[in-house]
Symmetry: C3
Amino acid sequence: MIDWFHWLNLAGVAVCAVSGTLMAYQKRMDGFGVVVLASATAIGGGTLRDLMLDVPVFWIADTDYLYTTLMAALVPVIWLRLSPQFPYHYLLIADAFGLALFNVVGIEKALASDTSMAVAIAMGTITGVFGGLLRDVICREVPLVLDGELYAITCIIGGIAYGVAMQAGLSTAWCGLLALSVTVLLRLGALRWHWQLPVFSGD
Amino acid sequence: MIDWFHWLNLAGVAVCAVSGTLMAYQKRMDGFGVVVLASATAIGGGTLRDLMLDVPVFWIADTDYLYTTLMAALVPVIWLRLSPQFPYHYLLIADAFGLALFNVVGIEKALASDTSMAVAIAMGTITGVFGGLLRDVICREVPLVLDGELYAITCIIGGIAYGVAMQAGLSTAWCGLLALSVTVLLRLGALRWHWQLPVFSGD
Amino acid sequence: MIDWFHWLNLAGVAVCAVSGTLMAYQKRMDGFGVVVLASATAIGGGTLRDLMLDVPVFWIADTDYLYTTLMAALVPVIWLRLSPQFPYHYLLIADAFGLALFNVVGIEKALASDTSMAVAIAMGTITGVFGGLLRDVICREVPLVLDGELYAITCIIGGIAYGVAMQAGLSTAWCGLLALSVTVLLRLGALRWHWQLPVFSGD
């Protein structure tokens, strides 16, 4: 279990670091801005989760995450030197996987701390979306999570799928795989067919 | 004591969730934006307080708060479906009570962790205003706490009243009631008569 | 060691409180806005560091820091009443010292919690820059740390110097002094000769 967990988490961190770097590119930041934004996006959600669960912060306990963030942040820098066209399309797909990976990691880490299922679902969602929220607030953008296609709600539905599967007696690995699939498929479907929640306003 | 504490806290959470939802309405957010903003406003201040005091985060330890937030967030959604006029006037009054409730909860939770009175006053103020600050930063508004009528300063004065009453030997219940009254009355007075602190600037 | 640490930290807190107050002045905030911004700038970085290291938050454990923040916030208020000209030039120099002081404090506190050197360097940088980042996000400014002359990168290079000196067997005091000097000199040099990292963008 520990191993699969570790690799899930590293993959999510790498994908989010890439997305932070791309935002820094759009905003014409300097080399350090890239490091700040990539780190905030990649490890912000997990840091908040670990602080709230009162467990050791994952990247302090295991330096691998810090090095992964820095190396992943270099990928788009080098890519964009070699070719002016960055495959944003693939990035959105990778980002959907990152969201789903973080969601499952958050749920499992919360359950390992003996929280209720409702809190675990909240922790999965926070792990998935907080890094991106931080990135957007620092860059003074309208947070993606609050705007447009289904985003964070896919984490919540994935989390509910996890809870139902657990009630049905499935093993942790199957629960995780189910939550991962539900989250990824919902997010990819939302991107492809522009699924949106109704806007809540006066007219 | 535990009971009165619990109800104070639930009442504060509900009022702040309503205020977050109303901001989401003004900003024309979708269904999930409502959940994010309502939660950030309702449990942001208490979460920061509990992290800093190194006690279990209140809504993780007791899931009631999470359900209260979600249910309270539904109130304005349903209300605004039924009637286009939302009583913003009553909301400001309710918000003043929310601020004062959170202030007292923060002070008492800090004192229960054996902090000094100065730290307890800071914790009360943080519990009262941080949720709203978070709401405004996410929505890219000028934070209310930094602008306009007396707001956070009412928490500080309420906290000082608590400290004075404690020195005078009053029981916890009376100290809390006094701080609550001072905070609410100052805030309502500020709203009614537009009390402001002098602006600090060059002319 | 404890004593030198304490004074370093107090000096850093005072300088950052002054810088928060000056930002509040530019933004024409009221008296409480000054307190909020000065506190966020002065104790924000150290608070995040202590939360992540899971050690008692420094200003809760020792109320001196809170009083220092409030008193330091008064300095520019009184100064600007007496004279319309505030020596911004000296402020930038003092701010460079504040950055370097917080960097060394962060590194040493992390190492005292048995983190790896890479994590300690990250903690030093976070302690140095997070307060200012918070100040700029609250005021809806482009964060300084992401823009312009070398800023946070000076903390990282100072941290690497600390690590190299420690490997070479120098005592803690010498390591700290070296990191302090490297950070201050790089920052002052960047201010004087406008050193910048290359901007990362398409053209």
